[in-house]
């Protein structure tokens, strides 16, 4: 069995045991997922920008006060939860289990507050302003389709992220997960934050009511 050919095959980078880019396979997998998810969101955002520029009668349902102030608060909450996630990853790398779990719970709280505020805004748009995913009271009905589609997909990511954080925080607290798992979780959370950094200016700030 152990002729020179199999030895050569086993010593090649493809035979396992080597880590591409000197990182764990979980982390590399998360990076690959992030790239594919980037393309999903960029496809949606390109579609949105195209319809936004091509429609002169695009609805502008966001007055500076309260809608833009409201969504800026949401942005700051999400950014703050990114900061607490950085803290969690740093604590995990120091091996400080208690602090890690605390910071991760803070991150989850940020995600939940963000989702709550966002749902409130959705309800306001649907019940008070009369927007639905397929129609709008004035202007192009594409507004509802793109707005609810993009922010809905983003909110799904936030909620999945909250569950993911909960699972990893519990596991890390019990010593089942390593610091790398927390770091991979952090990558996902920062990515959700990153997507919002595109969604917020392109959707909210492009539809300010003057």
């Amino acid at each position: 069995m152990h002729d020179t050919k199999t030895d050569a095959a086993l010593s090649s980078p493809w035979s396992g045991g080597t880590a591409p880019f000197a990182m764990g396979s979980k982390k590399l997998g998360m990076w690959l997922f992030i790239v594919s998810d980037t393309l999903t969101f960029s496809a949606l955002l390109i579609t949105y920008s195209y319809s936004r520029l091509a429609n002169p009668d695009w609805p502008r349902p966001f007055p500076i006060n309260p809608a833009i102030i409201f969504s800026t608060t949401m942005t700051v909450v999400l950014l703050a939860s990114s900061l607490t996630m950085v803290m969690a990853v740093m604590a995990a790398q120091r091996g400080d289990r208690k602090r890690t779990v605390l910071w991760m719970v803070a991150t989850m709280a940020g995600g939940l507050i963000f989702t709550g505020l966002h749902l409130r805004e959705w309800l306001n748009l649907i019940t008070k302003e009369g927007f639905t995913p397929w129609s709008s009271p004035e202007g192009s009905p594409l507004f509802g389709a793109t707005f609810f589609g993009i922010t809905g997909l983003h909110m799904t990511h936030v909620m999945i992220g909250v569950f993911y954080l909960g699972i990893v925080a519990t596991g890390f607290g019990r010593g089942k997960f390593s610091a790398e798992d927390v770091e991979v979780n952090g990558l996902y959370w920062h990515f959700v934050d990153l997507v919002w950094m595109f969604v917020f200016p392109m959707i909210y700030l492009m539809s300010v009511k003057y």
């Binding site: 000197a22 790239v35 579609t47 950014l79 900061l83 950085v86 990153l194 392109m202």
Partner: protein, 88 residues
């Protein structure tokens, strides 16, 4: 922490731009550039991309930009054409 303050500052700048009532095309371009700056900051510091092997950046970023560019090639010229056709 400094990076985080920078991110909040850029967000504030974007909100300020919303008051300026720029034309949608100008506004969209400015906002996309600012967002790309923010994405770069988040990826390099929060997501530690700056501290990984540079080879990873070479693998991930050009491939992503290439794919986004392929989407833009389909849409972009047509949207510019529509802009010129739009009644002024």
């Amino acid at each position: 922490m400094v990076v985080w303050i920078g991110l909040v500052a850029i967000t504030g700048l974007e909100v300020f731009l919303a008051y300026m009532e720029l034309r949608p095309t100008v506004m969209l371009s400015v906002l996309v550039v600012l967002s790309v700056v923010k994405a770069g900051l988040i990826m390099s510091y929060f997501m530690h991309l700056k501290f990984e092997r540079f080879q990873l950046v070479l693998w991930l970023i050009p491939a992503t930009i290439f794919c986004i560019f392929m989407m833009l090639i389909i849409f972009f010229w047509d949207s510019l054409r529509l802009l010129q056709m739009r009644p002024q």
